[in-house]
Amino acid sequence: MQLTLWTYEGPPHIGAMRVATAMTGLHYVLHAPQGDTYADLLFTMIERRDARPPVTYTTFRAQDLGRDTAELFKTSVAAAYARFQPQAMIVGASCTAELIQDDPGGLAKALDLPIPVIPLELPAYQKKENWGASETFYRLVRVLAEAPAPRPAREPGRRPLCNILGPTALGFRHRDDLIEIRRLLDSLGIDVNVVAPLGASPADLGRLKDADFNVVLYPETARSAAEYLKKAFGQPFTQIVPLGVGATRRFVAEVATLAGLDPAPRLDGPDSRLPWYSRSVDSTYLTGKRVFVFGDATHAIGIARMAASELGFTVVGLGTYGREFAREVRAEAALHGIEALITDDYLDVEAAIRAAAPELVLGTQMERHVAKRLGIPCAVISAPIHVQDFPARYAPQMGFEGANVLFDTLVHPLMMGLEEHLLGMFREDPEFHDGVGPSHLGGNPRAASAAEAPEGVAAADPAPATAPILLDEDVVITAAPWAPDAEKELKKIPFFVRGKARSNTEKFARERRLPLITLETLYDAKAHYGR
């Protein structure tokens, strides 16, 4: 048993729902108890979909358990087929139905419907949402892409043809990434055969094999299917995820190679404003900003790399909740000279953020709240997300426009360079000293920043009176006391690096067994650690 308050991923059948809801002409019959229909509202509320997800639930209850839940399942499948007339169906069990051991696949087969009915095995007590989406898409592709057959040679003069794989319902910016990548491919002279699962019908999946190659936008959902298509139809697929300018350029080169085209015309053309913005002197202050990155593996890897090489940040933390891609994240973290954090426990993430003392956190909805609690600027770069991250405006993450969006997203939470400079210069002025709140909020004194709290002591939470559940021991280490003048000097350090300065100094003092932290100790430590 695992004590859980907040989960990064839902159970695997939610992943299957994300695939089913993304598609058209497909219906999902889920053997599930009453109550599991809560999942509908993720799609109708968070993504603001205008139709119910194409899912029928058996919603069995206790009184059904004594009778025949298998019969209930069969009548549900038959009724859903009669009502919705889908081209294909998927059937499966949620966590509770997995325990009662009806066999959705066998039961559906017995009905002998005139359409493909694809059974899903989604082990709810081992796997999670992203795995469920990936497995569902893979199963659909296996059944619906037609039997292996040699592909006819491309007719001369025909533009190269690719599939785009990976976008789903409830995907972080999938809608706009797709628009951006379609545009990019078109400008290269490549046509899109099928986009799947988003917007595809079962019949469309039958046409997947007509393409020359596959573009995999989200490996979490589409890599298994792409690997199958490679094996069955010899379609190569892209390995580079176009997050950031550099990755997008490499993506263009990779796609052009797969399509047998010359990428030079596209790469010589206009791309993103990011390179110039990042070179402009206003961005100088971004140099070496300490950034902590956490999310799904694809976004964490892509955005950490971009943050380091395109914005000049220092990546001080990198991690993912998706164990399926732990290896890739570990490899990327090694490039940044750090160890990857692979966990689905947000308290571990919170502890890691606190230990790394970053100046910017890039993460999910949860990291946004952790960062808020710790008083650190933050931007959201990955699912899980709340309704505000399904924006009305065009907001891709991928491609050249995506790089523009990311530049703004990553820089806006930070103080502008000039602002930071002024705050440092006029720190002691009555309007600017640390205790003063923003003038537009009436300049009321603000609560002590969490960054000031000594290492190992939980920051005071402003709202609830209850203590957080801490799963790991917070070690409170007795440090040498601070001399008053050293304490006073510490306050002169800008508040956003003060926490780090304090913990470094205390560590320095501990290691040297100093009885008191003096002004000298503070500056000795500063010289020792540098920045």
Binding site: M1, L3, G35, Y38, T44, R52, A79, A124, K128, P464
Partner: protein, 424 residues
Amino acid sequence: MNAPVPPPTACGGIDFHQEHGQRAVFCGLTGIVWLHRKIQDAFFLVVGSRTCAHLIQSAAGVMIFAEPRFATAIIDERDLAGIADANEELDRVVTRLIERRPDIKLLFLVGSCPSEVIKLDLSRAAQRLSGRLAPVRVLNYSGSGIETTFTQGEDACLAALVPGLPREPAEAAPSLLIVGALADVVEDQFLRIFSALGIADVRFLPARRAGAMPAIGRNTRYLLAQPFLADTARALDERGARRLAAAFPLGAEGTTGWLQAAAEAFGVDDTTFAAATAAGRARAETALAPHREKLGGKRVFFFPDSQLEVPLARFLARELGANLVEVGTPYLHRAHLAAEIEMLPAGTRVTEGQSLDDQMDRCRAARPDLTVCGLGLANPLEAEGLSTKWSIELLFTPVQGYEQAGDLAELFARPLRRRALLEV
């Protein structure tokens, strides 16, 4: 599913139907979201699957980030395969939780579908842990979807509290118990009115703190503040308390009827009653008047959700002049709702249970002016051009009593006003 609907049976002048099929409702676990706010030193530990954790996270919205007093012990494959002794695992998780949260005085082990299906005996676990963790009390109830629908989770929770309530001596003076979680502000308003009625000893179940749960005995009279408390009422009856039959305190009329039931039981004379309620009634009337214009003659359709549907429909029909197309409810407790059913317009179609697609077909065919439904249906129906009022808000917002009558009407009027406002 899609079985033929049994022929309508007469029931107190309503057109009553029962329906079976797919149900789009929450399970009882959802009750935790408001119950943990009410009992301020209680913790709710769901013993379930990742689905349960995900459900509560989705239902609790941003509340999840405020370090709330609920969590899920997720059963994993080791527990199922018997590799780990589920009871030992539970003890380990609970012990650690209590160590970390010394402010917790009452712990609820909340059963879920998976824990019920594998027959994990949470009542024995609760007894065992109560002994080990004293003075922390550990209780259990089931909020599983196979047994409970949405607000029935509160019923199961309160029913679990009843056997442990202190016993009042047989000769104790009559006391009044209000049963059902109400917003603190509403409780305080009712206390003031009861005090004006001369009923001094008024208690609430649940109390705001675990150590302050009300005593009961043979002289306890109780009023249900919520229509979904069947098991709690039965447990109270077993301990000798007696229910005062009444309408529910929604709208001015419902509130008056509800207070009247207490007044009669405690021998309050008419003059005192009129004096104590006159100001509230007048204010409710003032607050309701502008909404009557907006909602009068509007056709309203209720999907089943919380069991509040019948009292709400009664309020909309009688105090605001709305017409009722269909009133869906997950369960209809005939005895507790007798006063409500009597007040519904004759021939109102009331449907107990649900066959979702059939009900949506009826709703589309009727094209009501306002549809009261859950969040999984609201946007899809809006996209079809139907105005909706999402029903969960009726649980989270203070709606009972005179002072909230206007707010309650406003909740229904707002979607219509908005639709009229928008030009795009």
